[in-house]
Symmetry: C2
């Protein structure tokens, strides 16, 4: 039902915001995993994302079914622990998603800065205070 | 049920990702509105966001109820048209949200860059190709 004769018409549609990734808890999980390419234990992931066991398990199921992550077991001292890592396909999709997210930030930050000098954003430089 | 003894534990929780704003269509609407502070007509907003009438109306209702936007009528030639603009409170909340979004991009882009020199992100500079 959408009419889009040009890219400009739907300038702010952000179709690259993949719904599987965009959901807040899953974005949290995937960002943790992309910054830890060797994988994270279920326990560490739960803490990093501030999720409950049930919530994390549910979102991991969605991501695994979609081929974005791999779940495996690893020996830790005397017991097996559940580990999670991002898949190659997952990494590729996440990076595509990130490019759109970056565009949102650039679009909005520019407007926000133009209007309010009194409450500036931190700026899009890679440095952090 | 979350145990968070320190900020670091839930490093990737991104609690600032306000669910009202984070939903893709609403993020699209709000980004259009923040870049057009004088307001946009319903028709223009629909085109910019690539949404149908019904979808846009539904999301505008959510945003209006939450005090993030103002909906008003404006004379356009011989007829009244529906206009939408972001409210002061909405703008404030959007900017807070944006700061978290920016953090996600910074966290992830750093990791993505570190790992793959072959497929770099465009980089967090304000220039666009």
């Amino acid at each position: 039902m959408k009419s889009k004769s040009s890219q400009n018409e739907a300038r702010f549609a952000y179709e690259g915001l993949d719904r599987v990734i965009h959901e807040r808890a899953r974005l949290s999980v995937l960002t943790s995993l992309i910054t830890n390419p060797n994988g994270l234990s279920f326990v560490d992931l739960k803490q990093l994302c501030g999720l409950t066991d049930g919530n994390l398990a549910r979102h991991l199921q969605v991501l695994e079914k979609d081929g974005m992550i791999k779940i495996f077991k690893e020996q830790d001292q005397n017991r097996l622990q559940t580990m999670v890592r991002i898949s190659t396909a997952g990494r590729k999709r996440y990076i595509e998603y990130l490019q759109t997210l970056e565009q949102v930030v650039l679009d909005a930050a520019k407007a926000a800065k133009d209007e309010s000098a009194s409450k500036p954003l931190r700026g899009l430089t890679p440095t952090r205070a």
